[in-house]
Symmetry: C2
Subunit: 196 residues, 2 copies
DNA sequence: CGATTATGAAACGTTGACGTTTCGTAGCGA
DNA sequence: TCGCTACGAAACGTCAACGTTTCATAATCG
């Protein structure tokens, strides 16, 4: 068996490879947050990661592939599962979490770059939209269930209500200088979903 | 009187100057829509405008100044005044207009670039946020008046309701592959502002 | 018409990033 | 321990954009 084939089949490949991928992807996300999509450079990523530029080209064919991989990894931070409480309480917890993520997390930091990248690159646009649709599903389902159970008013359209709630949070992040404060979650829910 | 001073005081300066500024700013907006903020180039603007690169540098000191001016001009398209109808009808007209603008207008085309630019450049961020706050005021005032007149439920927070409505429209533009359709305006208002 | 001035085209030197290659080193697995 | 391989550093040629300068042309204004 040739050495190369052996490596490919090996369940424990050289740990240096995984380590390089990790630090490079992390540095790529930093670069996307700082420089954005259009001004992203491989050389800056290499410097951030403390890695030779050649190492990056050993793992990715070109700049766009690295950017796409970085965004993909970004979207593997999934929301926590929520189990206890009334629909209104669950919804409040979701909104607080989204507000936190939009403000501080790698996702929040890279969001403007991601929006810009999605506008320029069809592949990034596809998985950005796909991921957002997936991430929204539990919220829509929760609202629909709350309507069915009588916790929310029957006139609500679950999908539009979810877009209004999430939209308000992202609007504040992207279009104003006062990001949505998690403490406002109750007030936002009261406005969109009715009081009580 | 020196020739230079004469020009500065002249109420009708050389029309070639105004014409150059116009075509260059228009081309800069095209470039921002196509390339985005980070990949914006002066040479591409010159080519689009059918203008010598030197002409651009005669009017703006550098790339950032041109970009800032282009965005500034973008925001001089103000919303139309709305006079007739119930608060709910006026609100629907506003949302339909915002949906149209977000989708098709120069503003909508440049929105991802503007969001990205605002994240990188403090000066652009300031006037982006300032303009958005100004543009939102009539909507907030309309909602507040509607609450006072009994056309909208009293539990609403006018500012949050406006952000939820506008947020939903921008959310659809930036995070999904189905931009908000003006025909949905009634349904969105019914969900956020209550039925009837 | 004549003086002025903005313009387009072109060439300039400089910088920075792309993506490649080479080479010596150090970590890995057997 | 020994062969293998991934690594960092550095240098490479190429190209594109920056911002500048020059020059002949053409529009403007008096």
């Amino acid at each position: 068996m040739a050495a190369a084939a052996k490596r490919a089949a090996d369940p424990r490949p050289d740990p240096r490879i995984a380590r390089s991928r990790q630090v490079i992807l992390a540095a790529a996300l930093e670069e996307l947050g700082d420089a954005g999509y259009g001004a992203f450079t491989i050389e800056s990523v290499a410097a951030r990661a403390g890695v030779g530029k050649a190492t990056i080209y050993r793992h990715w064919p070109d700049k766009l592939a690295l950017i796409a991989d970085a965004f993909r990894q970004l979207q593997e931070e999934r929301d926590p599962e929520l189990v206890t409480g009334t629909p209104r309480e669950k919804l409040k917890r979701i909104l607080r979490h989204v507000a936190d993520v939009a403000a501080d997390s790698p996702f929040g930091v890279c969001l403007p770059a991601l929006i810009d990248a999605a506008e320029r690159d069809p592949a990034i646009r596809r998985f950005h939209h796909r991921f957002q649709a997936e991430a929204r599903k539990p919220t829509v389902a929760l609202i629909a269930a709350g309507i069915a159970s009588g916790d929310f008013p029957p006139h609500l359209d679950a999908e539009l209500a979810a877009q209004a709630l999430l939209g308000a949070v992202f609007f504040r992040r992207l279009m104003t200088d006062k990001p949505f404060d998690p403490a406002e979650a109750g007030a936002l829910i009261a406005t969109v979903m009715g009081p009580r």
